[in-house]
Symmetry: C2
Subunit: 270 residues, 2 copies
Amino acid sequence: MNILIVSAHPEPASLTHALRDVAATQLRADGHHVRHTDLYAEGWKSAVDGADFQALHGGTHPRETPRLHVPAASGAAFAAGTLTDDVRAEQAKLLWADALILAFPLWWFSMPAILKGWIDRVYSFGFAYGVGEHSDTRWGDRYGEGTLAGKRAMLLVTAGGWEAHYGPRGINGPMDDLLFPIHHGVLFYPGYAVLPPFVVYRADRLDDAAFDAAADALRTRMRGLFTTAPIAFRRQNGGDYLFPSMTLDPGIVSATGFAAHVRDPEPEAD
Amino acid sequence: MNILIVSAHPEPASLTHALRDVAATQLRADGHHVRHTDLYAEGWKSAVDGADFQALHGGTHPRETPRLHVPAASGAAFAAGTLTDDVRAEQAKLLWADALILAFPLWWFSMPAILKGWIDRVYSFGFAYGVGEHSDTRWGDRYGEGTLAGKRAMLLVTAGGWEAHYGPRGINGPMDDLLFPIHHGVLFYPGYAVLPPFVVYRADRLDDAAFDAAADALRTRMRGLFTTAPIAFRRQNGGDYLFPSMTLDPGIVSATGFAAHVRDPEPEAD
């Protein structure tokens, strides 16, 4: 199988990149093909701006172009094949990969800016959103369907804090909830099956023994990359949501919050 | 009072900037002082990297410096006063401002990369984290205490989707939960009192009447900027969390998830 690992850390010798290399080595040992996008090494441009869509306007300077409406410009450039070379190369890698791994340090409870900029720019209209039929009866292909359906995705996260601080009642908020905007909103949205994350806590204080233990656990996760059960997010078009409000069918669960969008492990009563 | 508005949209004529201007005009009419940080106009650098801490190493090229450990480098540069000029200027503005407003479009359920890069770089160790006593009995000044305590902060967000999709049972997840990593993890963490957000939905389809209504509502919010009750997040050092696990005291609430970190509106039983 083909795996793309996108990493976002300024230091080549960082824990993030050490774990990335552990993952890649294991995957290759198991016969998979691995490609990398090392965002810092590539000097990835983070900011969506008029320069991303210049080809739409015959290459004129963005300041001379009409008002920039990002979804419209993004969709027109995607349809015309005029997105910038760096973005098109990343989209091709996403189409090539059977699985995507995003490797990053948790900075301020989210991804580093350079990785958010990869999402903002690569996830163009027509590619990651605005996909499928939008009509009086259907709200497109998203949340379990879309361009990247049939593929798997997983986060490889290093966090500076203690695990207890990210627990169910920890002060930072539960890690699963902190990652929901990425798991559900970034990965499940364009179709990925999302695996449970691999998280290393107290990343700043990891000694050799703790690194070895983390590496072993990561190797196990890599061996199960295509067999581990994904997070059971509810599919938009699977019958669980009302149209067009896209709210959970009242008959399904009474819960609110992020957890309501994950199916129960037991079969549900009809 | 002094208000800093940080905005992140590539289009000067965007809804984000139109609403920013409505807010600034009202604040000035009420006698306040308003300053702006327009991240796109300033060409803000998003990526934390070795160049941010070059002065620590006598200006040598980052590739010739020791392994970059971001918290350590950030803390050393802050303590030595050698953070880059752009970062020091923003820290000075934050210290000047009695209130901070972050104005941005919701992209992939979070802030645009350029704004995340403002957080990642301006929130240095010693300024926004690693503040206060860290000992066997205290985990620093954070979550309600810290450098920015006594000040207020508020998000001004435009979202493309329908409000129902962001409701308590909407498919995107509740807006309050999606914003929790920013409200609690970015704003409350270094001390801000966090006001309820001002959110405009269906931002791509706003007609003149809807804009006028939104502008009126925003003016009302600006008039109440220093009187509106903040979100009642629990203070780390206010007695609600156990040390050192920093988990909620079992006697306080039985809830889990983000909502458990907000105090009940009614007085709690002891």
